[in-house]
Symmetry: C2
Subunit: 220 residues, 2 copies
């Protein structure tokens, strides 16, 4: 999986344990498409902040959004950001504390987060975000109105300066430690989808839609 | 849950949707103790970076660690950081795209990440991290050696400038939208623990320990 020479920039090159590095776009896209939760780093008054939010990918761009009044969105707007996506796949238990690890998939994208100004494009992007998670849902919804679109900031970030790291598999212990009578292996973690719960105000005759029943089959 | 007046600083005061704000320490600690995965924001060459790693809490301090050679640990060492912990509890489906949301618990801690220099204290802290996740495991392991302790950086961050945000429950739609024939509610998400898988090199007679069988009962 190591393709170190392909790092898009020095600052995205994975230097430690570089056999975990992934720089090819299909590998990066697969992680982005599996995990909508992301953590965006930005500066406010010179101090780094990290805000959890959601990203969605369209082609070579990731988008994230929030209230136009949000301090995070205002600070990130037009500014350098780091958008990081992580899936935690398991705890790795070794025969020494030092070699304990985790299995994970993560992507880091660096760049400037630029706002989408055109209200129609913004609306289309926001609908695409909903459709990506819940295919078919947008046409069932009350459409966004102008005020809602205005009150929402959508920021875009090109997937140009990006890298991923992936760890899978068993612990790697020091040779001599394999002689020790210690349990070692992996405890897998999964994100599972619970039973959908309506809000108690769904009108009679409205059934649970397929996009709810089938939610998340390709996620996490 | 709103206790806005208790924000420890202006920059940690939750300004938007402030009924979601949590500033009391038991509320903050419960989230930190439930989610070891964190995302640490720091600066490298003036650019914000966000690295996923793990945190553990002891009293009024959170710790995180990594290789002393790690670029992230080196950049965060002695520097301003933001450590953010997030649990994603569900997707909230409303009757308009605009009111879609998520249920979550998150904590943001700002401050300077200071290194633990004393090797004995460092070793104790690292063991505490393993014990916190897997009670009883450390005494079964090959102890850390001096070189391993030296090769590991442990950073501490006081829980003094911290805030949390929590959202629970149903979508909140515009009054008139409740008349629409649209399914609305919550799709819960859970982190579940899979069946432990030994690495195929566990010696005969070594059983799966309780700290593996019972892993994660109080997490996520």
């Amino acid at each position: 999986m190591a393709r170190e020479s392909k790092a898009p920039s020095e600052r995205t090159r994975v230097k430690r344990v570089n056999q975990r590095a992934v720089y090819d776009r299909p590998g990066i896209d697969a992680i982005l498409d599996a995990q909508p939760l992301c953590h965006v780093g930005y500066l406010r008054d010179g101090h780094p902040f990290v805000t959890p939010t959601f990203q969605w990918r369209e082609g070579d761009t990731v988008y994230f959004h929030g209230s136009a009044a949000s301090q995070a969105l205002r600070a990130a707007n037009g500014a350098d950001v780091c958008l990081t996506v992580s899936c935690l796949d398991g705890f790795v238990l070794a025969r020494s504390g030092f070699h304990h690890s985790v299995n994970y998939r993560s992507v880091m994208i660096l760049g400037k987060a630029m706002p989408i100004e055109d209200p129609e494009i913004k609306n289309t992007l926001l609908n695409n975000f909903v459709e990506g998670l819940f295919p078919g849902r947008v046409e069932t919804l009350r459409p966004n109105n102008d005020q809602e679109i205005k009150a929402t900031t959508v920021l875009s970030l090109p997937i140009s300066e990006a890298s991923a790291k992936v760890r899978t598999g068993n612990p790697v212990d020091d040779d001599e430690d394999y002689e020790l009578p210690i349990w070692a292996g992996v405890i897998p973690l999964h994100t599972t989808i619970g039973k959908p719960q309506d809000d108690g105000r769904v009108l009679d005759g409205v059934e649970v839609p397929d996009h709810v029943l089938n939610f998340g089959k390709n996620l996490f």
